[in-house]
Amino acid sequence: MTARAAVHPGELAISLGLIALGSFIIYETQGIAETQGYAQIGPRLFPYLIGVGLALCGAVLGWHAISGGWRHVPLDEGRERPDWIAFGVISAGVVLHMVIIGWAGFILASILLFVLVARGFGSKRPVRDAVTAIILAVAVFLIFTQGLGLNLPKGPFEGVF
């Protein structure tokens, strides 16, 4: 086990993010018009409470982060050697799927996503992945459009199904 450093940058960043989010909510709440009805509690009070709560949690966690790190974090050895390439490849799959699904259609977008995620998990068998992807994407497409009546973009297969 490596000794935990005094200040944890990642934990501190998340804590500051929570404080920022809380402050943002408090700031935005002021833009909500308060209905001044008779003894009526309007739409502002609850957001204020939540904003304050978030900021307080961020403050406590931030203090923990600079005083020996967050409390009771389990030690996972895997966390010391992150595989950022896997992270990048899978992220690319999800983002590309979002970008192309409108015009390339559900089937092609899903095949691309499937192959990239499998690659991200270290698969060395692109042919197996591609064949599985095609079968799964077409099957899911047919079940959901024909069977459940969902409307999914067809892309170039317009008129085929």
Binding site: Y38, G78, R119, S123
Partner: protein
């Protein structure tokens, strides 16, 4: 007697062919996703929500409940045969169960967990049947102030009591509450936190959040940090049946596990992890074979497995009678009720008795089906474990993106899905629990409603929450569970310093 006739009427609903099929599909799917690592009941039910919006609520809810407790059965199979638990509530089973499998006793380990789950599930369903009307009678006295108080208690226990750190749990809860704020205010119709984006006027869909956290976030996390070592699948060797001594050593742990699990599910302290750990500790103390613990003792499988099943059924007590979800899956089931305009709570027992009692009755039959599915047919489920990890997670993401996109055919939901996935990744990495996000997001708007109603009745007087005896008591308990443990720790630390 009234309960009995209500339950009989429920059986008339649950035993119609169509509802039997729903139940069968639910428990089968539940077992399958319980077996598969990376897919849990919360994710599965969330993905099925849009597809079931137009079907009969009774049948769909019978299926969802089946997925929930079916996953507890299936999860034990993975924990025993693989060194990674299928569900978080089966971590303890993975310890002794996997060791039993390594010694060639996979069969009895699977048998004791399936039979234990069946016994626990059935006893817990009987307890649910008996308790629900009592809680409902009590809850009919609740006004908005009381409802708000029990919701605050649920928020506190779900986020601050469970898990390693109260600060991280509460941060997660407040984040969920903040997501719940987005959209039109239910009472005045004003847009809140929509940032001028029209897609946000309806709020962020619970499907996007659940799927983002549990599918996208989890996939990114596993791929980034835990994809180096391959899983080792233990072979099913020898007889599946338990010997006489196995039975003798199992039946008391089953009953003790049930007795631990059910109350833990019932009180709004959610989660099946704590009772399984407690059950393990107790069995380790009471066993006549202490030498076997740590090498694969059957008591260490039987007790925790019964506990996690009883607790899953137990969580349905606060969910059905008070509308209080105390686990991520229960929160999604609450969202399912809402999509048909139903609000679980005492009134639902009066307005929809056939739905509620049909659902409860279906759990008796569901447990029987699960016993058959998981004991003689266990070999089929083991095959699911042979799916290579890359294909499994790629498939999960196909369904995840389909679920988010299918909501309204908008790429915007896919963007939200990825962003929530990134947040889920960070939460997993930094050990922030995700269940409070879902509970906060789904229960938050209801809590705000009750809060504002209570204050409208009291004409803006905040003391209403402490002047009503029930809500004052509940809030006092909340303060106790929130501030009690740290104060007690500090006091005992001081004491230790003085004596030491």
């Amino acid at each position: 007697m009234e309960t009995f006739s209500a339950l009989l009427a429920g059986f008339a609903v649950a035993l119609t062919p169509v509802n039997l099929v729903w139940g069968f599909v639910g428990v089968t799917l539940g077992t399958a996703i319980g077996v598969l690592p990376g897919v849990g009941p919360a994710l599965t039910i969330a993905l099925l929500l849009p597809a079931t919006a137009k079907v009969d609520p009774t049948g769909a809810l019978i299926m969802f409940a089946g997925i929930y407790y079916g996953a507890m059965f299936g999860g034990s199979t993975t924990s025993i045969l693989l060194n990674t638990p299928g569900e978080s509530a089966t971590i303890v089973t993975a310890m002794e169960g996997n060791l039993m499998a390594k010694r060639g006793r996979a069969g009895p380990a699977l048998a004791t967990s399936a039979i234990g789950s069946f016994i626990a599930g059935t006893i817990a369903t009987i307890l649910l049947t008996v308790m629900a009307p009592i809680v409902v009678d009590f809850a009919l006295k609740f006004g908005p102030a009381e409802y708000f108080a029990v919701m605050v208690l649920a928020f506190t226990t779900v986020s601050a009591v469970l898990g390693a750190s109260a600060a991280r749990g509460l941060a997660s809860l407040f984040f969920g509450l903040a997501i719940g704020l987005i959209g039109l205010d239910s009472q005045t119709g004003q847009a809140r936190f929509t940032l001028g984006i029209p897609e946000l006027l309806d709020g962020i869909d619970v499907v996007v959040v659940a799927v983002g956290l549990f599918a996208v976030g989890e996939t990114l996390y596993i791929a980034t940090y835990f994809n180096r070592e391959a899983d080792k699948l233990e072979k099913m060797k020898g007889s599946i049946w338990m010997t006489k001594s196995d039975w003798k050593r199992s039946w008391m742990p089953w009953l003790r596990g049930t007795a631990l699990g059910f109350p833990f599910g019932t009180i709004p302290a959610g989660g099946a992890e704590i009772p399984t750990f407690l059950s393990y500790a107790i069995e380790k103390k009471l066993t006549k074979h202490p030498d076997e613990f740590g090498k694969g003792a059957i008591e260490g499988v039987a007790g925790p497995e019964a506990a996690n099943n009883a607790s899953a059924t137990g969580t349905l007590v606060p969910l059905l009678t008070l509308g209080l979800p105390t686990t991520a899956t229960a929160a999604i089931i609450l969202a399912a009720f809402q999509q048909w305009g139903l609000q679980p709570g005492p009134l639902l027992f009066e307005t929809q008795p056939l739905l509620i009692w049909g659902l409860i009755a279906s759990m008796y039959t569901g447990n029987v089906i699960l016993l058959i599915l998981n004991l003689p047919l266990v070999g089929i489920w083991v095959k699911l474990l042979q799916i290579p990890r890359p294909l499994l997670y790629a498939g999960i993401l196909i369904f995840a993106t389909l679920g988010a996109y299918g909501l309204r055919n908008s790429w915007f939901d896919l963007l939200l899905l990825y962003l929530v996935g990134l947040i889920g990744f960070l939460m997993r990495r930094y050990d922030i629990p995700v269940a409070p996000v879902l509970v906060g997001m789904i229960l938050g708007p209801l809590a705000e409603q009750q809060f504002r109603r209570a204050l409208a009745i009291s004409q803006g007087d905040l003391t209403i929450f402490v002047r009503q005896p029930i809500s004052a008591t509940v809030l006092a308990i909340t303060a106790l569970v929130l501030f009690g443990p740290p104060i007690w720790r500090r006091l005992s630390a001081r004491k230790a310093r003085r004596t030491g």
